[in-house]
Every structure is written in structure tokens, then in C-alpha cells.
């Protein structure tokens, strides 16, 4: 039992070590590492490393949903991890973003995707404010119940409104415009240039020129360009998240989470900051939803946004370590990736998932990568406990 918890908390310590060593480096070295890491992540679906790669399903597509989940988790982490608001209806915002994009680019209008995207974000943000303004006055469990209802309301509403396609959903959603010429449309994918991918024979890589990816060609065949775009969005969101978190705004969120009344009495307009967290979280959920809608599949229906998805989103944040943006990314990535990697066990995937969650809940309730500070608090607690136990043992020996 303790072996399990040691292994799990070892992850946190090792991560701390990585962060410390990174911080100790001179600035140019840090910049170089970041660029190297980013390049690796961008190229991952082309590199197709043997153990990571999913064999039976398109790895690019898996990586796209990994990034989409990570993006959602980063957004939800603002709501749950920073501001401490348990939102169980996050899929509602995801759906609002997806549907706004579907309607604007395909169903009623024919806007280009990158024009529809900002509007989708804005609409989702407004939805967040509209939902948040009345409901953020209730706390804790009550908020969870209200948001749970919201997720379902959105799904049931779109199922019954013809204007957004009712239960048939929206088909053939336009993809983002391909950048680069396609002189001979049905046969040319367009794109700026082609890049080959690697294939692996055991551990020996070789170039696979038969399946090239056309850079910035958005079609129905190759998911990798979509992955690049959503990954870029994820990186931008991460940078913004970091800037906002390490400011007055982030402190206000944390103070509100820790003790709402005390925060209010220290001059924090808690309602305003809760609403801000909610709206920002919503906007990021909408952003991810917009990418999902105009992604490779190009199809959304009410059934794309089940309640289960909300639960998975929350699970991603909790598994990763609520309050740590890297934890949220890891959580989101795992929740999206593992079921695809182990398709063989697809029938049992919810069972495994439930088991994994239980294990985590028992031995590491704070998640895989909780914020460093809560790890520190935990470490001190453990130290005190050890001292107390040690004192007792010492006295029995003496």
C-alpha cells in the first residue's frame, strides 16, 4: 500500500527535480530547451515513437484529441484548480463553442473558420457569464449541481432546436482554409509543402515517403495539421494562463478558493473574480469545441456532448493535479490517450478507468502533479507525522 503511494508521490518529486534543474539553467539554455521540447511535441505525430504510437488508429487523430483534451483541462483547471469552483457541466461550453462554429461556418453562414473562431470564443464566454452570474452565488455542492444541469440543458436544447440541426446534428462542417495552392483540387491536397513521417522497424527508424503530411492542408485525410493548429492554441493559452495566474488576478482566485469570506474581507471582490474564472474557463472550453467541430471529422451532434464527457474533463483535472497547469495537461492527455492506445481492452476501458481513479483517490488524492505548494505542505505534514511516530518508537526502544 505504501509502496503505491511512494511511487505516486515520487512522480511529484521527480517533476520538482526537473523544474528545479530547469530553473537553475542560464536563460539561453532554458530558451533552447523550451524550443527543443516544443519542436518535439509538434513533430510527435511524424516521429511516431514506437511505444507511444497507436497502431490500429491514426496516430495524428489521437494526438489531436490529446491536445483538445489538454486544452479543455487547462481551461477547466482555471475554474476548478485556481478558483475552486466545481463545474460539472463543462461539456456545455465545449458544445456551445462547437455549435457556434458549425452554425457560422457551415449550417447558416459560410464564414471562414478563423473568422468564426473568435466569435465562437466570445459566444461561449458570454454563455459563461450568463450562467455564472446567477449561479456563482451558490457555493460548493450546489454549484456542482447547477452546472451539472446546465450541461444537460445545452445538450437537450440543441437536440430539440431545428435551427442548429436538432438530433441529426451538423454534417460536413467546413475545415479551416488550406494555406498553399492546390492546382488540381480533387487530387492535390494543397498545403505549403510535404513532410514525410518516420516508420520504425523495431528501434531502427526510416523515412516513410508514402504517407507525407501536407503542411497546413486541412482535409479529411490527415489530422496532423489540425493537431498543429490546436497545439499552437494550447501553447498560447498556456502562456496567457501563466501571465494571469502570476498576478493579482491569480492571487484573488486562490484567496477566494481558500476562504471566500476572508478573501472578501481582505478587499477581494470575490464574485467578480469567480465570474472571471468561470468566463475564462468557458472561453477556453469553447475554443477547444470550435476546433473539435471543424476538425478532421467535421461532424457534431447532440450525442457528441454527453454528460460522460463532463465527467472525463473533471477527471482529467483531478487526475493531473488540480491547480497545476502541467498537471492538467498531463491529466487531459492521459484521459484522451490511454483509451486509444489500449483499444484492445476497449470493452473494459471504463472499468480500468474507474480502477485507476480509485487507486489515485486512495493513495494520491491531490493528483499526479499537484501544485508544488500543496506538495510542500504535504511533505511538512508527513515529516511531522514521522517525527511523532519516531518519538513513540524511540520511547519504546529506550
Amino acid at each position: 500500500m505504501s509502496a503505491m503511494s511512494t511511487t505516486l508521490s515520487g512522480i511529484g518529486r521527480r517533476w520538482d527535480g526537473v523544474v528545479d534543474r530547469y530553473n537553475a539553467l542560464p536563460k539561453p539554455a532554458r530558451l533552447g530547451l523550451v524550443i527543443l521540447f516544443a519542436a518535439f511535441v509538434y513533430l510527435l505525430p511524424l516521429l511516431r515513437p514506437p511505444i507511444l504510437t497507436t497502431n490500429n488508429i491514426d496516430f495524428g487523430g489521437v494526438m489531436f484529441s490529446v491536445a483538445a483534451f489538454a486544452l479543455v483541462a487547462v481551461g477547466l483547471n482555471i475554474v476548478i484548480g485556481y478558483a475552486g469552483l466545481l463545474d460539472l457541466g463543462y461539456v456545455g461550453f465545449y458544445a456551445v463553442g462547437a455549435y457556434t462554429t458549425g452554425v457560422l461556418t457551415t449550417y447558416h453562414w459560410h464564414w471562414p473558420f478563423f473568422l468564426a473562431l473568435p466569435l465562437a470564443i466570445a459566444v461561449t464566454m458570454v454563455t459563461g457569464v450568463i450562467l455564472g452570474a446567477p449561479t456563482l452565488r451558490v457555493r460548493g455542492d450546489y454549484l456542482a449541481i447547477v452546472t451539472l444541469g446546465f450541461g444537460e440543458i445545452i445538450r437537450i436544447t440543441v437536440k430539440n432546436v431545428e435551427w442548429v440541426g436538432a438530433s441529426a446534428g451538423i454534417k460536413d462542417i467546413s475545415h479551416p482554409n488550406t494555406i498553399g495552392a492546390a492546382p488540381n483540387p480533387p487530387f492535390d491536397r494543397g498545403g505549403m509543402f510535404d513532410v514525410p513521417r518516420l516508420q520504425w522497424d523495431g528501434i531502427i527508424p526510416s523515412l516513410d515517403r508514402d504517407h507525407p503530411t501536407a503542411v497546413l492542408a486541412f482535409g479529411a485525410v490527415d489530422a496532423i495539421p489540425y493537431y498543429w493548429v490546436i497545439l499552437t492554441a494550447l501553447i498560447l493559452v498556456l502562456v496567457g494562463d501563466r501571465l494571469v495566474k502570476s498576478s493579482r488576478v491569480g492571487r484573488a482566485w486562490e484567496a477566494t478558493r481558500e476562504d471566500e469570506d476572508a478573501a472578501e474581507l481582505m478587499g477581494v471582490p470575490t464574485f467578480k473574480y469567480k465570474l472571471m474564472a468561470f468566463a475564462l474557463g468557458a472561453a477556453i472550453g469553447g475554443l477547444s469545441g470550435a476546433f473539435y467541430a471543424s476538425g478532421q471529422g467535421g461532424y457534431i451532434s447532440p450525442d457528441s456532448f454527453p454528460l460522460l464527457l463532463s465527467m472525463l474533463f473533471v477527471a482529467a483535472v483531478i487526475v493531473g493535479g488540480s491547480g497545476n497547469r502541467w498537471g492538467a495537461i498531463v491529466g487531459g492527455a492521459l484521459v484522451a490517450y490511454l483509451p486509444e492506445r489500449f483499444r484492445e481492452f476497449a470493452d473494459y476501458r471504463l472499468l480500468f478507468f474507474g480502477l485507476a481513479l480509485s487507486v489515485l483517490a486512495i493513495w494520491r488524492p491531490e493528483g499526479l502533479l499537484p501544485p508544488r505548494r500543496s506538495r510542500r505542505a504535504k511533505a511538512v505534514e508527513a515529516e511531522i507525522e514521522a517525527l511523532e511516530e519516531g518519538a513513540l518508537e524511540g520511547s519504546t526502544h529506550a
Binding site: A252, M266, G267
Partner: protein, 265 residues
Amino acid sequence: MPDTTPAKKALLEVDDVTIKFGGLTAMDSVSFQIREGEILGLIGPNGAGKTTCFNVMTGVYQATSGEVRLDGVSLAGRRRHKITQLGLARTFQNIRLFKSMTVLENVMVGADAHSKVGFFDALFRLPRHRRTEEEALAKAKGLLDLVGIKARHDELAANLSYGEQRRLEIARAMATGPKLLCLDEPAAGFNPAEKVQLMQLIKKVRDQGYTVLLIEHDMKLVMGVTDRIVVLEFGKKIAEGTPAEIRDNPAVIAAYLGVDEEDAS
């Protein structure tokens, strides 16, 4: 220093405040004033209404009748964070720090009370953000130094010792830049040596130009540090005066020691 000025201005006026919770009258027509630059003690036996009085002042409860004015501005119906921004800050009887934030961050939350920095300032790192952040940091460090826990600034609030946590509460409240600093039983759970240190700290705080309202059980502490004392019992004000006057006031003695001979607690 303020003692030499002939007419001390009333900073906070509690004007005929009554609070009823259903049939229970927690405060009954209580009036008193806190003058600029003084340390006022608010004392009374358990259940006398001290904390209720505090909660009315800070906007946690609304007065059934009467009003509280800070610097002439009525506090009735104001949101709690607005009251803090007007210049009234408090600590809590049962310590309520932001436990998983660092000591420095706790104080900086207080220092943010008047900050105008918003989301976009932070996102785009506008000059206002940097300036405000630097000011808040300097202020927070200064205050931690004043209360004597500067060395622990990077520690989590939860990991501080009890006494340090109480000091942090004072620093955090002071960071909001209050005209009036209200301390709700800051010596609760302290040993005599710590109490002496706390008395010195409170005097030091006053010397920095703050006005202090002190709610306290410990008579020695109250007598030693306050300029004036208001005594509550069963929601009513029964006495007001200098520590010497209060000590000899028969009503106060009766309230604290009981008039009954058998009931000497």
C-alpha cells in the same frame, strides 16, 4: 502624538446600533466612537456581543437599526470588500489565513485591496501591472518585517506556528491600508511571554499611525495597551472610559466577577 491634539476626530462611529436575530437581541442600542490614532478596547464576558459588533462594522451582518460610519461615511448595505476598501480591516478570532498560499502571497492579497490591475493588465503585462506588483511586494515585505516574520515569507501559511499565524493575520489586514485596524482576540491561545510581545506589536502598529480596535478577553493585555475601553454585556454598553476608570467601575466588576458571592468565575 495624537494625545496632544485637543479635539481628536471620531474615525468610526457606532451610532445606536441594534441587531436582532429573530427574538434574540444581540446588540441593543449600542453607541460609541473610535477616535483617530487611539487604541480602543472592546471587552465583555462571553456572549456579550463583541464579535457581533465586529461583524456589523465589517459588513458581515446588517444592523436592524442604527448605523456605523467610517470617517463620516455610512457602512450600511455596503459590500464587504467595499468596506475594506473604505479603510476598515480585521483579523479573525479563529485564524483564517489562505493556508496553501505562501506567507508573502497572503499579505499581497491584502495589499491588492486597492489595486486597479485587471485581467488585461496582467495578460499583457502593462506598466501598471508591474508598478502595482512592485509596490505590493515592497509593502508586503515591510509589513512582514514589522510583525517579525519576514524570514518566513516563502513558507506556506499553513506551516507557520500558531503565534506566527496570528502575526501574519495582522500583517495581512494592515496590507489593505486600513484607517482602522480591528483585531479580534489576537492573543487567544498565547502564553504570557507571547502576550507581552503582542502588546508591543500593537503599540508599534499604533505608532505607525493606525487606529486600532482591540477585542480581547485578557484584562491585563487590554489594560496595558488600550487608551480607552468600551464594555459590553448582554448586547448593551455598560461602561466606557480609560483603563483606570473601567477598573474601578462597579458595573464592570459585577459583569466580570458576578454579583453573586458563590459565582466567582
